[in-house]
């Protein structure tokens, strides 16, 4: 885990195949242990686990099995159609991982090493065990019911004493595996509760099971004994089966969401080009890089360690770490931080800190400590359950003591009736059933619920804090107004600027290119709408990092050939233009005569942002905006989205402090974010939402992951959480009312065990049906 979490969150773009060079990184035996292990019998045979991307049906898995199996050196392969995972046995003397990874790639799929294999293995065992316990309980319950049936329907005298005894023995034998094996977890939890002196739902359940079994056993083997001759094997097995069914469903849901998230941790080891002694560069795995090495980082790659630029000028994107969404320029001598991206040019960096010492690792540490001090949401069921459970235990003990003098067997069964009829089932199902139904409903809308208990905290949320970049806004800039020198049309100016901009990777340049292409399409469709845009071309473009581009621009379509004009595109000072005070980001175009045009760029705010903020306000939630960007940009976005409280220029620890302050004033806060710099706040908030494109580490700390990238899911989740809370209350009220009616009956011994069991089942069913109403949720905007 430590390795996985400290590896940098550089997600490879999906669908593009890995380069051969990247796959070669896996041939380093140091990397093998992350996703493989040697066989017990033969250390040269390794068993590797990989996740296959791009699989969609069962036939895919067979195609892959064939392809991998044909690679020389591969001894065996198994591809799971449902799990999208492959297990490959290969001999380290005959093959290398890159060989069979390439075979996967040649079939049109992508393989990534399954770094979560050991977590996954454990979960698989757990799931198998739970399934096994549940099936044992189910099968034995059915058979015990068969043996119990004659005793219920027989007229007096129909059933001989010997036959009845035989049926009882058979029931006892089949109840034995249920009590010893299927009920194991209940007894284990109950013992742990006693050891730690606290109380949970499992304690009365386990107590009820143990007493029922003891009384029934005594009734079977010693009918004339202290506890009388009644047996309750059928009630017992049915009760256990119902409980295990609930647990099994809960486990399945948990596995499905957890599995989807942990898969995000799977990727190729990051590699970097390191300068060797001869001055050349070779590609090595990141964990081989040490302080003092010089590494070459290309445009588009991420910096994998903190360091100082030795050679080259570039722009870097530190949005992930600081939240500053505008590119920053870095020249020789400037420091770069791990986790940021190199945008425009290749640079050589001398490594100063690696691993735990990097800024990236410090943010991770801040995140861990924030998570440790996370405030617990008010868990209404827990608060209610504890005194209630204590009362139940006391009532059971008291009624048992009251009846003991007359008939110890009857006394114990009265106690069991109290324990069972109090329906720890209904009470314990009241919350999880509603939460599960809500989580399922949210999952269908693209929101993964990582922690069920977070739904309860979410219902109480009165403040939502949004991050700006990537959450309220899209990652790209959009073009606003264009001012031009008289005689020049806006679209012409844009065409000129775009000709220059296509030589640069800067986000602003990309925005200009995209805007130019869009206008070209519109003008083209307009069937010669007046003027011609010309076919502009820029020669000898040169980019000054952080300043702008200069070059010779010429209209190639112009019939009398005109000489090229030297132009500059960039900041006010670079273009020699009077700087103006403005809130937005501005880019200027100038030629030898001076100013030509001004392009105003703004961050593209998500179309649904304003609607979402309005909806949240309508629900009585205060909305805040918190960002690492400079305050002007933040204020602008806040105004567009209709957010009253906005704060810019926040570092990750500022954000955390702001959050703690809100919490101290008694607010229940939900945080919506995506970047690594939001990690600590997400970890510290009562409820955390991570957007689907968020870095894996941030998602790992979130309670909810919004997969579809739709901001409106946040509103839906809040509303559904409130409805869930309503249903939970109804369920708890029902459970309490039912108990208030039945407990006195059970205490005075008016309620036989079978009626108690029936009451328990009916009451549980009602609770579950009520919870299922949550699965039908009106869509956003309907109410």
């Amino acid at each position: 885990m430590s390795n996985a979490s400290l590896a940098l969150p550089v997600a490879l773009p999906l669908s593009s195949p890995h380069s051969l060079e990247a796959l070669r990184m896996l041939d380093d035996p140091q990397e093998w242990v992350a996703f493989s292990r040697p066989c017990a019998q033969d250390a040269t045979v390794w068993e590797s686990n990989v996740v296959i991307e791009g699989m969609h049906c069962a036939a895919c898995s067979l195609t892959l099995e064939d392809a991998i199996g044909r690679v020389p050196g591969v001894l065996g392969v198994q591809v799971g159609a449902a799990s999208h995972r492959a297990r490959v046995m290969w001999s380290s003397s005959g093959a290398r991982p890159s060989d069979w990874m390439r075979a996967v790639q040649d079939c049109g799929y992508r393989a990534v090493p399954a770094n979560d294999v050991f977590v996954n293995e454990r979960r698989k065992l757990e799931t198998r065990q739970a399934l096994w316990r549940w099936l044992v309980a189910g099968l034995c319950m059915m058979q015990v019911m068969m043996y119990a049936y004659p005793a219920y329907v027989a007229h007096p005298g129909d059933l001989t004493g010997e036959m009845e005894q035989l049926l009882r023995w058979a029931s006892w034998v089949l109840t034995l595996p249920v009590i010893l094996f299927s009920c194991g977890p209940f007894f284990k939890n109950a013992l742990r509760d006693i050891a730690h002196a606290h109380i949970s739902m499992d304690l009365p359940v386990a107590l009820g099971m143990a007493i029922t079994f003891a009384v029934s056993t005594a009734g079977t083997f010693e009918p004339q004994g202290l506890f009388g001759r009644e047996v309750y094997f059928d009630s017992l097995t049915m009760f256990v089966f119902f409980l295990l069914t609930g647990r099994w469903l809960e486990l399945r849901l948990r596995d499905r969401t957890a599995g989807a998230l942990e898969a995000l941790m799977n990727r190729l080891p990051d590699s970097v080009e390191r300068r060797d002694a001869s001055g050349g560069f070779e590609r090595v795995a990141v964990r081989r890089v040490v302080v003092g090495d010089v590494v070459r980082v290309h445009a588009g790659e991420a910096f994998l360690a903190d360091g100082v630029v030795e050679q080259g000028d570039t722009m870097v994107d530190e949005a992930l770490l600081t939240g500053e969404s505008r590119p920053l320029s870095r020249g020789p001598g400037a420091s770069v931080v791990a986790g940021s991206h190199n945008l425009s040019a290749t640079v050589q960096v001398r490594v100063e800190r690696t691993g735990d010492a990097t800024r990236f690792a410090q943010i991770v540490a801040l995140m861990e400590s924030a998570a440790a001090t996370k405030p617990e949401g008010a868990q209404i069921a827990d608060r209610l359950a504890k005194p209630f459970l204590i009362a139940v235990l006391l009532a059971a003990a008291a009624s048992c003591a009251w009846w003991w003098g007359r008939d110890p067997g009857h006394a114990l069964m009265v106690a069991v009736a109290v324990l069972v009829v109090t329906c720890p089932c209904a009470l314990s199902l009241a919350t999880p059933a509603a939460m599960l139904a809500a989580a399922g409903s949210l999952a269908r809308r693209g929101v993964l619920v990582r922690k069920l208990s977070a739904l309860e905290a979410l219902a109480a949320v009165d403040t939502v804090v949004f991050d700006k970049t990537g959450t309220l806004t899209r990652d790209a800039f959009s073009l606003g107004t264009v001012d031009t020198r008289p005689g020049l049309s806006a679209s012409q100016a844009l065409a000129m600027a775009a000709a220059m901009a296509q030589h640069s990777l800067h986000p602003v340049s990309r925005a200009l290119s995209v805007a130019a292409q869009a206008t070209e399409k519109v003008e083209g469709n307009g069937a010669g709408g007046g003027e011609t845009l010309g076919h502009w071309w820029c020669d000898t473009a040169a980019e000054v990092a952080g300043q702008g581009i200069s070059g010779l621009v010429v209209d190639q379509s112009s019939v009398p050939v005109v000489p090229a004009v030297a132009m500059r595109l960039g900041s006010a000072s670079y273009c020699g233009v009077e700087p103006q005070r403005s809130t937005g980001l501005r880019v200027f175009l100038s030629d030898a005569q001076g100013w030509l045009a001004t392009f105003e760029l703004s961050e593209e705010i998500r179309s649904e942002a304003a609607k979402v903020v309005a909806a949240l306000k309508g629900d009585g939630v205060t909305v805040h905006l918190l960002s690492g960007d400079d305050s002007d940009a933040v204020a602008q976005v806040a105004e567009q989205a209709g957010i009253l409280h906005a704060k810019g220029a926040c570092s990750p620890s500022d954000k955390l402090a702001f959050l703690k302050d809100l919490q101290k004033r008694g607010h229940t806060v939900a945080m919506v974010g995506d970047g690594l710099n939001d990690g600590p706040v997400l970890a510290g908030a009562h409820v955390a939402f991570a957007m689907g494109k968020a870095v894996p580490l941030t998602q790992a700390k979130a309670d909810f992951v919004v997969m579809g990238d739709h901001l409106s899911s946040v509103v839906q989740a809040v509303r559904l959480a409130r409805r869930t809370q309503g249903v939970v209350r109804q369920n708890l009220w029902w459970a309490l009312l039912y108990n208030a009616a039945c407990v006195p009956l059970a205490v005075v011994g008016m309620l036989p065990a079978w009626a108690a069991g029936l009451g328990m089942a009916a009451s549980s069913l009602l609770v579950v049906l009520n919870a299922l109403r949550l699965a039908r949720e009106p869509a956003f905007g309907e109410n």
Binding site: C57, A58, A59, S61, L62, D66, V79, G80, A81, A82, S83, K124, R128, L131, W132, L135, V136, L139, C140, Q143, M146, Y147, M163, L166, L167, A170, V173, L174, P177
Partner: protein, 45 residues
């Protein structure tokens, strides 16, 4: 009705056999990938 003295113990034994079969199926992971096996019979190799 004397036959019941034999049949009831037999049914208990039968249940244990069925449980054994279930354990065998679960332990070999037969419930973990239900789709691929159905497709496998359609292939020649």
């Amino acid at each position: 009705m004397e036959i019941l003295y034999l049949l009831i113990p037999l049914s208990v034994v039968l249940v244990f056999f069925i449980l054994g079969g279930l354990w065998w199926a679960i332990d070999r992971g037969q419930f973990e990938d239900i789709e691929a096996e159905g497709a496998r019979i359609l292939r020649d190799s």
